[in-house]
């Protein structure tokens, strides 16, 4: 089901590839070929850094079909450092740790699996960066 759609969206989903506007430099995600700011054509591909912060969020206890496997989970609006807002699941954190304004980074994870025999869909989620330890003397 929808194999071709998953295939078409893979650059966007695996590595946050969007577009940049030639005229005013605004970055677009998801790609829509026309600049939201100046309406000029925006077709040049741009790979987002994957860094951003949590703009708002909600925890899903009663998930839509296909996402039961992961519930409960938290979905957030992420404000990417380049500007656009993107909706994505949070991962690698407990729901009670989530705060508005929290810095997050993009990771590629399993979004869903279409039954035991269908395809596995991978895509972006966001999480807090891995905390850096003080390096112990070698």
């Amino acid at each position: 089901m929808q194999v071709s759609r998953h295939w078409r969206l893979k650059s966007e989903r695996y590595k946050l590839v969007g577009e940049t506007c030639d005229s005013c430099g605004v970055k677009l995600f998801p790609p829509r070929d026309v600049c939201l700011a100046c309406e000029a054509p925006a077709k040049e591909l741009y790979t987002f850094t994957g860094f951003g912060e949590i703009y708002s969020y909600t925890t899903i206890y009663d998930p839509p079909a296909g996402f039961e496997h992961n519930a409960p989970y938290t979905v957030a609006l992420i404000k990417l450092e380049e500007g656009p807002l993107v909706t994505a699941q949070l991962t690698d954190m407990d729901d009670e740790e989530v705060r508005i304004g929290m810095p997050v980074e993009m990771v590629t994870r399993k979004l869903r699996s279409e039954g035991e025999e269908g395809m596995i869909v991978y895509g972006y989620k966001f999480r807090p960066a891995v905390p850096v330890q003080e390096l112990s003397a070698a």
């Binding site: 695996y14 590595k15 690698d92 590629t108 399993k110 596995i120 891995v130 850096v132 390096l135």
Partner: protein
């Protein structure tokens, strides 16, 4: 063994090659071995390790390989379009048919002008990919080749392997010697047909030959490969600052090190099994990334994998000055190990898909 026999089988490419980027990955969940003991032995059975790493519901060998590969690329600072091979060694590829490696190659921007393949040989699939990458770069066919060892290992509930079957691994970007943070000065492989551990195509959990796993399997292959490599390059245990051996538990690699003349301090930084378990195809390579995180220029490192069925790949590495400028560019192996959330057996059964939903 004569001098001549000692160097037989040593593998060296035409051009000097080495590791130009490396990256580790360990999921954040930990299952203490005492939880498994509580479940199956009434808390009286003891535990071979402290705890093992467990992948989250949205993780598998594809997602874990992507993160390790991104860390390797962050350290290497090269254009991914110059990579000519993306090779993932694992015994837990998510699909039976459909490569893990193409998804990883796509995610890091290495497509389409690249080789991509999945490697299999129980726990040494990762070092096999590494050895092939040495050949690809050393022959001049490729500027860079990415080799990954990664697993989400499963143990049958209640089985001895359930205590240690864990998730994690590492990615190693192989390139020319002059760009390397560690030059690979030689490698060696030792294999025989040994039935110590296997899993048939449609079986969910592996089977093993119990007492067969020690002497004729792990020790014979690890010791033989280590001795042949060290003989081939003309070094002894004292010439290495660090050694890493495949770690199905703590006991086996510790004993192998002792038999070969290595002191406990030489294996300590790379011996992670007590804290993350046996990461199968990831085990030897993530031990290596932990050592690279702390090694100094000119340190020598011995790395020896083991895969059931059975065989060992052994590598002789020399760290270069480049280690100092590259290792801070991505999270260290210890950063991932320190990021931990302990779970109980019930959560573990859900995360590892052991609950029948219909």
């Amino acid at each position: 063994m004569t001098e001549n026999q000692k160097s037989e089988g040593l593998m060296r490419p035409h051009h000097e090659v080495g590791i130009v980027g490396y990256g580790a990955y360990v999921p954040r969940f930990r299952l203490p071995a005492t939880e498994i003991d509580r479940m199956w032995k009434g808390g009286k059975g003891g535990a071979p390790i402290k705890e093992k790493s467990v992948p989250g519901l949205d993780e598998d060998v594809v997602t874990m390989s992507i993160e390790a590969a991104r860390n390797a690329m962050a350290r290497a600072q090269i254009d991914p379009r110059e990579i000519r091979a993306v090779w993932v060694g694992s015994e837990s590829h998510p699909y039976a048919v459909k490569p893990t490696s193409t998804v990883v190659a796509e995610a890091i921007g290495a497509v389409p002008h690249t080789q991509a393949a999945d490697w299999e040989f129980a726990c040494k699939a990762g070092t096999e990919a590494m050895q092939a990458a040495i050949g690809f770069v050393g022959s001049g066919m490729a500027r860079y080749a990415l080799s990954i060892g990664m697993d989400t290992a499963q143990g049958r509930p209640g089985d001895a392997l359930e205590y240690t079957a864990a998730a994690g691994g590492a990615a190693l970007l192989i390139g020319r010697g002059e760009e390397a943070l560690a030059v690979i000065e030689g490698s060696y492989s030792f294999v025989t047909d040994t039935p110590d551990f296997w899993r048939r195509a449609h079986a969910e959990y592996p089977s093993h030959g119990d007492r067969f796993t020690g002497e004729p399997a792990y020790f014979k292959h690890v010791i033989s490969a280590s001795e042949a490599l060290m003989g081939g390059v003309g070094r002894t245990a004292a010439d290495y600052q660090w050694a890493v051996f495949h770690q199905p538990n703590v006991k086996f690699p510790s004993r192998a090190a002792k038999m070969l003349g290595f002191a406990p301090e030489q294996i300590a930084p790379g011996l992670l099994s007590n804290r993350i378990g046996n990461t199968y195809a990831g085990s030897a390579v993530i031990g290596l990334t932990a050592v690279l995180d702390i090694a100094q220029p000119r340190d020598r490192i011995l790395v020896v994998s083991y895969g059931s069925g059975a065989g060992s790949d052994a590598f002789d590495l020399r760290v270069t000055d480049r280690i100092l400028e590259t290792r801070g560019l991505a999270p260290t192996t210890e950063d991932y190990i320190a990021r931990r959330k302990v779970i109980d057996y019930a959560t573990y059964t859900r995360y590892r898909d052991k609950l029948k939903m219909s």
